[in-house]
């Protein structure tokens, strides 16, 4: 029998998280700081709208781009929150989570050999999606001393004549880093000068704790070269509904829609009806959850400092990214020992790229009681490591 598998797919490494997941799943009584999704349930009025749409028998396909009413609400939302205008009929596409939008944007824009600039540490799907689209990934290693922001110089240094796309994932998973307006203006200048396009993954935009989130699409000259990606998972605690969207210039969205049309048909209809309710009446829920995350953020950072773990202040998402370099263990060793000795699951920084070595991703999408218990164990573990070092 012939080998049925694609070389391209075989070349893709399984997610670094996967390996850790297997160890964790064998430990029945472990607690966790390793989850990349909200601990809140979707607000009831949103869930109720989903249920209602089922009761009404809205169980059929929507148009490929998604319900027009939802696209209109998204346009309103982007207008009021990040001050960018889109045409709901031609410039917005509803996708199965932000992840699908990332995949579509890369596939619609890449020719073989085109280089994609990917700042690391970053979410796990940019690299494989880039490979599957025949792009060549070029990593930009972000630095803790810059609070894991992308600087214009770092961008400039990574650009070659083949560079085409910059992936811009802020607020960032796993670091919690954010880009301020000034930071974005600095790189926008380089992007325009070098004629790059941007895939701006803003899925954590509502979880920003230092001023308002700024979208690079709102800067002069950037709307026409940006695919803005966002979704409902983080802001409205709707991860399981699998709903996101892309907004951008019509001629790019048309090609993305073509792939989406054949691969997916349309995003889940129930989720789309629920999302309309989220955008219409969900602002208070978003604010309530953001306040709760912010309190936990303060709590976690203070506790990390109390136990002597160095961590820059993250102003976005729901992650802290403390440095464990001083213990002389790799991130993987630290996380594995911590899991075995204290039964707390935590994700090593290296799961998000090689430059995550020396760091841990610590999620604070947990109740204060859970955080208190897990951080107490971390403190005990850190003290033990310090004693071993003496």
């Amino acid at each position: 029998m012939r080998n049925p598998l694609s070389d391209k797919v075989l070349d893709i490494k399984p997610s670094g998280i996967r390996k850790f997941f297997d160890i964790v799943s064998e430990m029945k009584d472990a607690i966790s700081l390793g989850v990349g999704e909200p601990d809140f349930e979707t607000p009831w009025h949103i869930r109720e709208e989903g249920i209602y749409s089922l009761e009404k028998g809205r169980t059929v396909y929507t148009s490929n781009s998604g319900l027009l009413e939802l696209r209109k609400e998204i346009v309103n939302y982007l207008n009021r929150r990040v001050n960018v205008n889109y045409d709901p009929r031609h410039e917005v596409l509803i996708t199965v989570g932000g992840s699908e939008a990332i995949d579509l944007a890369l596939r619609a824009m890449l020719n073989p050999g085109d280089e994609v600039l990917i700042p690391q540490p970053c979410y796990v799907s940019y690299l494989p999606c880039c490979q599957l689209a025949d792009g060549v990934p070029v990593f930009i290693n972000l630095k803790e001393e810059n609070q894991f922001r992308l600087t214009a110089q770092e961008l400039r240094d990574a650009i070659t004549p083949k560079s085409k796309i910059l992936v811009l994932p802020f607020p960032n998973n796993p670091t919690g880093g954010v880009m301020t307006r000034e930071d974005l203006e600095a790189i926008a200048e380089v992007i325009i000068e070098k004629d790059l396009f941007v895939i701006s993954d803003e899925i954590y935009s509502e979880l920003t704790y230092l001023g308002e989130h700024v979208s690079i699409a709102s800067l002069p000259g950037m709307r026409e070269r940006t695919i803005l990606i966002n979704g409902f998972s983080k802001a409205y605690a709707m991860t399981g509904w699998r709903l996101g969207y892309a907004a951008g210039p019509q001629y790019i969205l048309e090609q993305m829609t073509k792939i989406h049309q054949f691969a997916i048909m349309c995003a889940p209809t129930t989720s789309q009806y629920a999302a309309i309710e989220a955008l219409k009446n969900g602002d208070e829920d978003v604010a309530r959850m953001r306040d709760a995350y912010d309190q936990r953020r303060h709590f976690v950072l203070s506790r990390l400092h109390e136990m002597g773990l160095q961590c820059f202040e993250p102003y976005g998402a729901f992650y802290a990214f403390p440095s464990i370099a001083r213990f002389g263990l790799t991130s993987d060793e630290f996380a594995t020992r911590f899991l075995k000795e204290e039964k707390v699951a935590i994700v090593p920084g290296t799961a998000f790229g090689d430059c995550g070595e020396g760091f841990l991703r610590l999620s604070y999408a947990y109740s204060i009681e859970n955080l208190k218990e897990a951080l107490g164990r971390l403190e005990r573990f850190v003290q033990r490591l310090e004693q071993e070092q003496r």
Binding site: S25, G36, E37, Y123, N173, D291, Q295, R303
Partner: protein, 160 residues
């Protein structure tokens, strides 16, 4: 700061002061002083425990009584309410808009005791025109907390 303290303490009055200070990005002394001030100003009026009595062997009967009154000169709603809320069996008294004037919530050991309170104490009051007593059969949610069933963290332990 006060609003933040209250929103946390409304859900968990037993929270550790140190933890609360960390959550709000301040120090324990500041938080303790704010709480003390709010106690003095009767913004914080007490620290109670939310108990689901259904899960104990204690028998309790809770009744919600709609009361219509005719306020008289020198005896407005506030005075009338006071005469009602001073009874120790009365848990809560609210002045209402609409078809009746007061909601009175009382807690007793038996239905007979509730009946006795209504017929002996409440109904005979001069200003009270009528009462309608409703017994609580089951509490599903109280003070923002769902009392039935439990919710587990359904998330996987590790996700990207």
């Amino acid at each position: 700061m006060r609003e933040k303290i209250l929103s946390v303490m409304e859900k968990n009055s037993r929270i550790d002061l140190h933890d609360l200070a960390l959550m709000l990005g301040t120090d324990e002394v500041t938080v303790a002083n704010e709480i003390a001030d709010m106690e003095k100003e009767h913004i914080i009026c007490g620290y109670h425990t939310l108990i689901n009595w259904d899960n104990t062997s204690d028998e309790k009967v809770i009744a919600l009584i709609e009361v219509k009154v005719t306020p008289q000169r020198g005896m407005g709603f506030d005075k009338l309410a006071e005469r009602i809320y001073k009874f120790s069996e009365v848990e809560a008294v609210y002045l209402m808009s609409g078809a009746f004037d007061f909601t009175v919530i009382i807690e007793e050991k038996t239905m007979r005791a509730v009946a006795q309170f209504v017929s002996d104490k409440l109904a005979p009051m001069e200003a009270v025109m009528s009462t309608a007593t409703h017994f609580v059969l089951k509490k599903y949610k109280d003070h923002g907390t769902v009392l039935v069933g439990e919710s587990n963290d359904e998330r996987m332990l590790i996700t990207p």
